[in-house]
């Protein structure tokens, strides 16, 4: 009976979303299932409780940049059709597409209107892979790649890409990463390699773009091809973690949040540790934004203000999902228990992060790196 009523209410809410509550807030999120779960199971119920009569509907558009691409296509189509009220009220998108949406006037400049807007000062809140997005976005979280290693097998982990190169030569097939087609941790590793050996890394992160720059990466890519001979190419982000878990490799690049989640679930040996390689490895935020003609703009801003409040960032983003907070970390002090705080910053200290946590390259250089890798390393 319980199942039947549950099924009926599910069917009803699918068929008549507008009738389900007086007001419906449509939240579209790119990213993996955990992003949808976070909105549906954590933020949604909390917001509905605080605002009786409001129903939060979470829509997932799929992982990676292609998920953000779908959100962009929908908004862009509604703009082109001169639709009065757009379907999405809150969107959660990656950097590459967020920049494009801002430059095409698809987003509203809402950040100064919410209280939590002044709690964020990171560079990524103002600049998304080369596009100025100041005021249009709030970082939901900051995610970071780092090298995970088995402390029993690796006593002194390499501290830089150059040291890693020597280490892999001395320990063949003990370093593994997923290339560039199996997920973003491998892409981040390759981008970091070009930062380290390809010349002016700052220009890749900040621009201006020059199509000739990629010609200067040849030596770096030849070295990466040689490096790959001593490395294992793993099947995917999770493939790297799997191999670390089974002890088949001793070291590999991972997303920090996935690493901690797997550690909590007991899917990695307890002696695993993290290390950020110098001169830096990329990470990325996801952004909260409000479309320019959202039907429930005021409600959407209220939702984002709640989602970026220190307490929610502490409980949801840091404690539940092991991401780094989107707002500045000092605002979370006192909101988190000591154990959680220490765990998040034990292996990678705030100092490491400020020195070696880098953004991804600006969009055109990003594509150049991927394609040069395909041309010179993979083929």
């Amino acid at each position: 009976m319980k199942h039947l009523s549950l099924a009926l209410s599910l069917a009803a809410s699918l068929a008549f979303p507008a009738l389900a509550g007086a007001q419906t807030l449509n939240v579209a999120t790119a990213g993996d299932q955990n992003m949808v779960d976070y909105i549906k199971d954590f933020l949604g119920p909390m917001f509905e409780k605080a605002n009786p009569g409001v129903k939060v509907v979470a829509v997932g558009t799929g992982p990676g940049d292609s998920g953000s691409q779908k959100i962009y296509e929908k908004l862009s189509a509604q703009k082109a059709a001169n639709t009065e009220k757009w379907d999405f009220d809150v969107i959660v998108a990656h950097q590459k597409m967020a920049g494009q949406m801002v430059s095409e006037g698809l987003l509203s400049k809402y950040r100064d209107r919410i209280d939590t807007g002044k709690l964020v000062s990171s560079a990524t809140a103002a600049n998304a892979l080369g596009t100025n997005v100041e005021g249009f976005v709030m970082p939901m979280f900051q995610s970071q790649t780092a090298i995970a290693y088995n402390a029993d097998m690796v006593k002194t982990p390499p501290a830089s890409y150059a040291e890693l190169q020597d280490w892999a030569k001395a320990n063949p097939k003990k370093f593994g990463y997923n290339g560039i087609k199996g997920g973003m941790s491998g892409v981040a590793f390759a981008a970091g390699w070009v930062y380290a050996f390809g010349g002016d890394a700052n220009r890749l992160m900040k621009g201006p773009y020059d199509a000739a720059t990629k010609g200067g990466w040849d030596n770096a890519l030849v070295a990466l091809k040689a490096f790959n001979q001593n490395a294992v190419i793993t099947p995917g982000n999770a493939g790297t973690l799997d191999m670390l878990n089974r002890g088949e490799i001793a070291m590999g690049p991972v997303w920090v949040d996935m690493f901690y989640t797997w550690m909590n679930d007991g899917k990695l040996p307890p002696n695993m540790k993290l290390k950020l390689l110098a001169p830096g490895m990329p990470g990325q935020p996801m952004y909260y934004a409000v479309p320019a003609k959202a039907a429930q703009a005021a409600l959407a801003e209220k939702f984002i203000a709640m989602a970026t409040s220190p307490q929610v960032q502490a409980d949801g983003i840091v404690k539940k999902f092991n991401w780094y907070p989107g707002i500045d970390a000092q605002h979370l002090q006192g909101k988190l228990d000591d154990a959680t705080w220490k765990k998040l910053f034990t292996d990678l200290t705030p100092d490491d992060l400020s020195k070696n946590a880098k953004p991804f390259p600006i969009a055109p250089y990003f594509n150049d790196i991927l394609e040069s890798y395909e041309k010179k390393v993979a083929n």
Partner: protein
């Protein structure tokens, strides 16, 4: 047009419309996208596909050909045992078991193989605990070998199903005659049974070849991405760059591979029809 033909046309119209909308239109669209650049005929996308993915093109072809050959070999052996064996319990067990992989989707097979074939995976751990291997001798099969193993495991039952059916329907007197004259069972299989079912085997292998060429999940889950199969490259081209023309060019290259297989298949069906009409 007479009344019956127009009625007949009406009856097939929905099916034709579906084929046109869901197959011919996208096919034409992808061909146009692959061969044009800025509205003009051009081969730049093929040049790019060659420049970036020549290794993967060869890799794909080799993987699929090797898998097809192994599928053929395994199927002949198992179907031969099913038809010729005189050990009832062996036939009973084989008959029960060989179909199982048919009901398992490629992606689930990929997921299972990913942990089964790893260096410290289920298979090697079993060998180690049985004392057959030393932990230091184990090797990971999660590369081209893993893809081939998964393909053979998944496609062989399909070919066996068709082949065992064809073998069951041939005249048993031919086999008995051979046995009476002293031919061994393997010799009966190769010289008497196989020639009679060769056409069926070919059709089954052609269909397997085309199926394996189009699988995305297995190369993605079982092996790392260097080198990888064309399906993975097409997905990456679209997801990472939104570059449909080069993805379409890669698609045309795999059409070319399937076209060769399709030619064999069509030649066979046409010949069969002619024989039926005689």
């Amino acid at each position: 047009m007479t009344r019956t033909t127009s009625l007949g046309f009406l009856l097939v119209a929905p099916a034709l419309a579906l084929v046109a909308a869901l197959f011919l239109w996208p096919l034409g669209y992808s061909l146009v996208a692959a061969f044009t650049d800025g509205g003009r005929l051009s081969l730049v996308h093929f040049a790019k596909a060659h420049e970036l993915y020549s290794t993967d093109i060869v890799f794909t072809l080799v993987i699929v050909l090797v898998s097809t050959a192994l599928v053929g070999l395994v199927s002949i052996i198992i179907a031969g045992v099913l038809t010729l064996s005189e050990t009832p319990w062996l036939v009973a067990i084989l008959r029960q078991m060989y179909r199982w992989p048919l009901f398992i989707p490629f992606i689930v097979a990929g997921q299972c193989m990913r942990t089964f074939l790893a260096k410290n995976g289920l298979m090697n751990n079993t060998f180690v605990s049985l004392g057959l291997l030393d932990p230091s001798q184990t090797a990971s099969l999660l590369d081209w070998r893993g893809i081939v193993i998964t393909f053979v495991w998944k496609q062989a039952p399909f070919v066996i199903l068709m082949l065992a059916g064809a073998m069951a329907s041939i005249d048993r007197a031919t086999i008995e005659a051979g046995r009476n004259l002293g031919a061994s069972r393997p010799r009966c299989l190769v010289e008497i049974v196989l020639p009679q079912v060769a056409q069926t085997l070919m059709v089954a292998l052609v269909l397997s070849f085309v199926t394996m060429l189009s699988v995305l999940s297995v190369p993605m889950m079982v092996a790392g991405s260097q080198p990888t199969m064309l399906t993975v490259d097409m997905a990456f081209r679209i997801n990472a760059y939104g570059d449909y023309p080069t993805a379409n060019a890669l698609g045309v290259i795999s059409y070319a591979m399937t076209a060769v297989a399709a030619w064999f298949y069509l030649r066979h069906t046409v010949r069969q029809q002619r024989e039926a009409e005689r």
